[in-house]
Symmetry: D2
Subunit: 140 residues, 4 copies
């Protein structure tokens, strides 16, 4: 519920056309249909769009395991772009590797979906900060 | 010149409202005015938008030092989100740390610009692939 | 075979006491018994030792899928240290996520082994360069 | 003072032969003479040794700006290995990019020193946890 509420306030997700596909304890999937508006210079999905859905999937996966009033923010992430992101539809599958009181570690894969075919095009490893109430992204 | 040409084909940069501010050998700056369309759940710039301009700045910084017919693609990047990205304007400053024939390593900082005040809100370390002609992102 | 040959030339692995536990196509495990000589200031395994065995596991996992005469070198890696590395024995399990002609992407987990108990204490995401013959680490 | 005390308890630094060369507010340098015991399969410094000194330099750089009774632990780091680490002597220069109450972000470069010649062979971007008293590495 709070994942959906928070997601609905992420205007950037609406701007790029992303939506939530699955919410389970420790796992969140975000879907993004391809659009030419999201492309880089060769017509593939821009790495920034790929990173955006993977980052949100990991952050919300962490939120599913966080205390009721907590909020989450990415401290940092690393993404490997492993194949050209060329498909009608993309799915970012975020999963908690290690939940924590203050920091959670999450791993996401971004899959290019073309009918029955799926190919992993990116992998993201993220550190998520868990904060009571309204957080600051600042580590300070 | 080729940086501008390639940038103009990155539809995602136009979608989010980013533009090139500086092109020098080994260094490219990309500017992004804040818009509510780019926000995450607390009203700050979404990490995906922050990453998008830093990724493009690093990629184009690498392109300035690459052979004439080469193209560039990010193999991977890691970004630390160090402070809430809250400002009217952001600047991603990408710089080549080590140019290579096949791979270049670049470092970008994303600065929140509020009138005369500047604060570094993110740092990105990227590995960029240099390819002759039209590249594939695939490492294969 | 070539994994064992190459490993035997990694003097640093002998220096810290690491050995190969498993070699399969796309997967290599490296074992490290704890020793006080490898500790950081709180008596846990030093992050540099944790990273060393995960880096070698990922590199050799990539080598199992590379052409016969190829050699491998880490271009970069990122490691999350998720729990205190405190155990009599550690196991780094490296696995290829995406094999490539020029670059392979690998994921390792480092497990603290205490009798029947196993706990994942670190996760590493690596980019490995595949080169014919004797490589240079330089991306140039 | 506390940097030297803590460093002296890092047995792994003594094992590989590393020592502190400089301690200033926000910056720490660690020196490592090359030894064949630290090599990888091509005779270069093993990435694990490179990472170990860069990790310690970043952690201690963070410690110089932390409260008196605080301790530090790396949450995660990412390192780019940019050139073959081949030299008689290496220097890891860690520097705080953003100090924080709970998390600090640090950047290190590892330089190969050959007489008057210096070459940057690696760059590390780290997230360091700041904890009161005796810390756990666990994010939990």
């Amino acid at each position: 519920m709070r994942v959906k509420t928070s997601f609905s306030r992420q205007a950037f997700m609406a701007t790029i056309g992303a939506s939530i596909e699955l919410i389970e304890p420790g796992e969140v999937h975000i879907e993004l249909p391809f659009s030419p508006h999201l492309s880089q210079q060769h017509g593939y999905l821009h790495a920034g769009a790929t990173a955006a859905i993977a980052d949100s999937a990991n952050g919300y996966a962490a939120l599913t395991l966080a205390p009721v009033d907590a909020e989450v923010l990415a401290v940092e992430f690393k993404i490997n772009l492993m194949a050209p992101a060329s498909a009608p539809r993309f799915l970012a599958r975020g999963r908690v590797l290690r939940p924590g009181r203050r920091l959670s570690v999450c791993l996401a894969e971004v899959v290019a979906v073309n009918g029955p075919d799926q190919e992993v095009v990116a992998t993201m490893l993220s550190t998520i900060s868990i904060r009571p109430g309204r957080p600051e992204r600042s580590p300070a």
